[in-house]
C-alpha cells in the first residue's frame, strides 16, 4: 500500500477578505433575503395600485423635501464607508476607527431625517391600502436601517477595545459591504414612495 500524499495547509492565512471569507457569503445571504422582502413589498404596492383608479387615493403624495435630503445623505455616506473599508483591508486601525465614527454620524443623520419623513408622508396606514403599503415599506426599510446601525455601533465599540484581531478587519469590511446594500435598496424604495405617486 502506498503512503498517503499530504497537503500541508499550515501557512494559509487565518482569515480573508471579500468573497473569500465565509462571513461575506453569510452577509450576502442576509442581503438576498432582505432584498427579496423589499422586492415583494414593492410588488404588493404595485398590485394594490391596480385595484383603485387614483393613486394616491384622495390624498397628496408624500412631500419631497425630507425624502430628497435623506437620499443625498445616504448617497454621501458611501464615501466614508469606502474609505474605512479600504483602511480595513490594509488593517490600518486608526483610519478604521475614524471612518466608522464618521459613518455612524451619517447613519444618525439619516435616522433623524427619517423621523421627519414619517411626518410628511401625507397618509396613514389605517386609511387605505395605499397608506398601509407606504408605511409598511418605510417601516421595513427603517427596521433594517436601525438594526444595521446598532450592529455598526457594537462593531465600532469593539474596534476601540483591545480585542481587535485580523478577523475584525474582515468584519469591518463586511460592515461596509452591508451598508452599500442599505444604500442601494433605498434608491428603488425612494422612487416608489416619492416619485411613483407623481408619475402614475
Amino acid at each position: 500500500m502506498k503512503e498517503n500524499l499530504v497537503i500541508d495547509v499550515s501557512d494559509l492565512p487565518g482569515y480573508a477578505f471579500g468573497h473569500r471569507s465565509v462571513m461575506w457569503w453569510g452577509t450576502l445571504g442576509i442581503m438576498v433575503i432582505e432584498g427579496t422582502m423589499f422586492a415583494v413589498m414593492i410588488g404588493i404596492y404595485f398590485y394594490l395600485r391596480g385595484r383603485v383608479p387614483d393613486w394616491p387615493p384622495n390624498s397628496a403624495p408624500p412631500e419631497l423635501r425630507y425624502g430628497i435630503a435623506n437620499t443625498l445623505v445616504l448617497v454621501a455616506s458611501v464615501i466614508p464607508n469606502v474609505w474605512y473599508q479600504r483602511a480595513a483591508e490594509r488593517e490600518d486601525l486608526k483610519k478604521v476607527q475614524i471612518g466608522l465614527l464618521i459613518s455612524l454620524a451619517f447613519a444618525v443623520a439619516f435616522i433623524v431625517l427619517r423621523f421627519y419623513e414619517f411626518t410628511t408622508l401625507n397618509c396613514h396606514w389605517t386609511n387605505n391600502a395605499y397608506g398601509s403599503a407606504v408605511w409598511t415599506l418605510m417601516g421595513l426599510h427603517t427596521t433594517h436601517l436601525i438594526t444595521d446601525f446598532i450592529d455598526s455601533v457594537v462593531l465600532t465599540a469593539l474596534m476601540f477595545t483591545n480585542l481587535v484581531e485580523g478577523k475584525r478587519f474582515s468584519d469591518v469590511s463586511e460592515n461596509a459591504f452591508y451598508w452599500y446594500f442599505v444604500v442601494i435598496t433605498w434608491l428603488p424604495i425612494f422612487v416608489v414612495i416619492y416619485l411613483v405617486p407623481r408619475w402614475i
Binding site: 499530504v6 487565518g14 482569515y15 387605505n128 397608506g131
Partner: protein
Amino acid sequence: MTPTEEATRTADAERDETPNDERERRQLEETWKEPGGFFGWFRCVHHTTIGRRFIITAFIFFLLGGVEAVMIRIQLARPENRFLGPDLYNQIFTMHGSTMMFLFAVPVMEALGVYLVPLMVGTRNIAFPRLNAFGYYVYLFGGIFLYTMFLLNTGPDNGWFNYVPLSGPEYAPGKRSDTWAQMITFTELSALVVAVELIVTIFKLRAPGMSLNRIPLFVWAILVISFMIIFAMPTIALASTCLILDRLITTQFFNPAEGGDVLLWQHLFWFFGHPEVYIIFIPATGIVSSILPVFCRRKVFGYTALVLSLVSTGFIGFGLWLHHMFATNLPKVGQSFFTAASMMIAIPTGVQIFCWIATLWGGRLRFKTPLLFVLGFFLNFIIGGLSGVMVASVSLDQQVHDTFFVVAHLHYVLIGGAVFPLFAGFYYWFPKFTGRMLSEGLGRWVFALFMIGFNLTFFPMHQLGLKGMPRRVYTYLPEMGWGGLNLLSSIGGLIIAVSVLLFVIDVFRSLRAGELAGDNPWEADTLEWATSSPPPAYNFARLPTVAGRAALWDRREDQPIIKGVRSDLREMLVTNVLDAEPDHKTVLPSPTIWPFLSAVAVTGLFIGSIFTPWAVPVGAIPVAIALVGWFWPNRQEHEEELSAERDGRPPQEVEA
C-alpha cells in the same frame, strides 16, 4: 477495485495509526467536545448535536400531525359521525396541515441537511454553528407555541393556507388566526437562517478536490432548496406580517372596502406555497439519488442530467403558483401560461425518473429496506405526478377544485414523493446517526404496511373527489353514498398508524440492542461513511480529500490527507467556491448560551406582538442585549483567534 474491497481497505487504513495520530485524536476530542450537564445542553453548537435534535423534534411533530390525521379519519369513517364537533374538526385539520408542512416536512429536510451536509462535504462543523443552534431553538419554540395555543382552544382553524377574508379581522375574531400567522414567522425565520448556513457550508467548506461537478447529489438538492427557501420564504413571512398588521393595527391590505384585495393573500401565499412543495420534494429526490447507487452497486446514471433537473425544477417551481388559483377570476392568458408551466415541470422530474430507472437497470440490486422504500416512492410518486398533470389543466381543475381529489393528489405527492424517501433515508442513515442498525425484518413489515395503508387511505379519495365530496367538511349525509369509500380510507389510515408505531418501536429496540453498524455498513460512497458511527464531535480525525464523484469508491491509494489544521482550536479549512482548493483557515466559535437566550428573547417579542404592537419596540430591547452578548468576544476567544492568525501568512499576501 470493487466497492467492497475499497471499503475494507479504508477500514484498515483507519486502524493503521501511529501514537502521534492517537495523541492528535485525543486533542481533537478535547477541543471539539460538546458541553455536558443540564446547562451544557443549551450551549451545544455542533451540527450533529443540533441536527439530531432537529430530526427528533421534526419527527415528534410528524407523530402529532399523524395523530391528528387519525382523528380526522375516525371522524369521517361514517356519515354523521359525532366523534369531533365542527369547531374542533376545523382546528384539527388546520393543525394537521400546518404541522405537517411547517413543523415537519420542511424542517426535517433541513435537519437532514444540517446533520449530513458538513459530513458529506468533509468538514468539521457547519458554517455558522451558533446561528444553527439559534435556528433550532426558534423552530422548537414556534412549535411549542402553536401546540400550547391549541391546548388553550386557540388553535388556528382556517386551513393550512389561512385564506382571507375568513382569517381577517372581520370573520376571525379572537387569536386563532394570529396563532397561525405567528407560527409562520417562527418557522420561516428558522428556515431562512438554516438555509444561509447550508449554502455557505456547501460553497466554502468542501473538502479539497470536491469541485462543483463532484458534489454529492443530496448536497446539490439541499443547495437548491436552500436557495428556494431564501427566495420563497420572505414572501410568506411578509404576507403573514401584513395579516397580523391588518388584525392588530388596522392596516387595510386585505380589505376590499379600502383599496385592499383578498386575492393578494392567495398570490403571496402560493408564490411561497408552490415552491414549498418542491422544497420538500427536491431533498427527497436527493435521498433517492444517494441511496440508489449504494443498493444497485454502481454509480448513479446521468449525474449531470440529475443536477440540471434539480436546478431547473428549482426555477420552474416559482412559475406555477397560479395553478392553485384557477378557480378565481384570473385572465385566461395567465391561466394558460401557468398550465403550460405546470406541465413543463414534469420534464425535469421525468428526466430524474429515467436516470433512476437506468441506474436500477444496470445495477446488482440489494433489496434492503431503504431500497424498498425507494421503489415504493417510484410507484406512489408517479401516481401523484399523473394526477398532478391532470389538475394542471384548468377545465379539470375547476371540476375537482376543493374536493377530495386534490387531497388525494397532494398526499400522493407529499407522502409518496417525500415521506417514502424520507423513511428510506431514516433506514439508510440511522446507523450513521446512532451506530446501530434498524431491524431488516421489522423494516419489511413497516414498508409493507405503509405501502398498503397509504394506497388504501388515499386512492379512494380520488374517487370521492370525482363523486363531489368537498374537502374540509366535518361530516356528510348517508344519502351522498360516500360512506363505503371513506370507511376504506379510514381503515388505511389506521394501517399507516400501525406501520409508524412499528417503526418507532424498532427505533427504541435498536437504540438498546440493535446490531452494531460499524463505519460503513452499506459500503456506501459518500464521505459521511468515512468516519465512525456516530461521528465524533470533530467529524474526521484526518480531513479528507476527494478524487471523484463517489468519494469513497473513487479514492486513490495515495489519496492526499490534509495536514496543518490545528487540533487544539476549532479550526477549519475554507476552500474556494468552484474548485474547492484550500484558501484559508478559520476558527469557529465555541459553545455558548447566547443563541438560546436570543431565541427566548425573540420568542417573547413574537408572542407579545400578537397581543399588542408595543411588544415590538419593548421586546426588541432584550433581543438586542442577547445579540450583543452573542457577538461580543471574550478574552479567551480573542487569544485563540490571534494565535491561529499568527500561524499563517497575512491574507493580503495571498492572491485572491
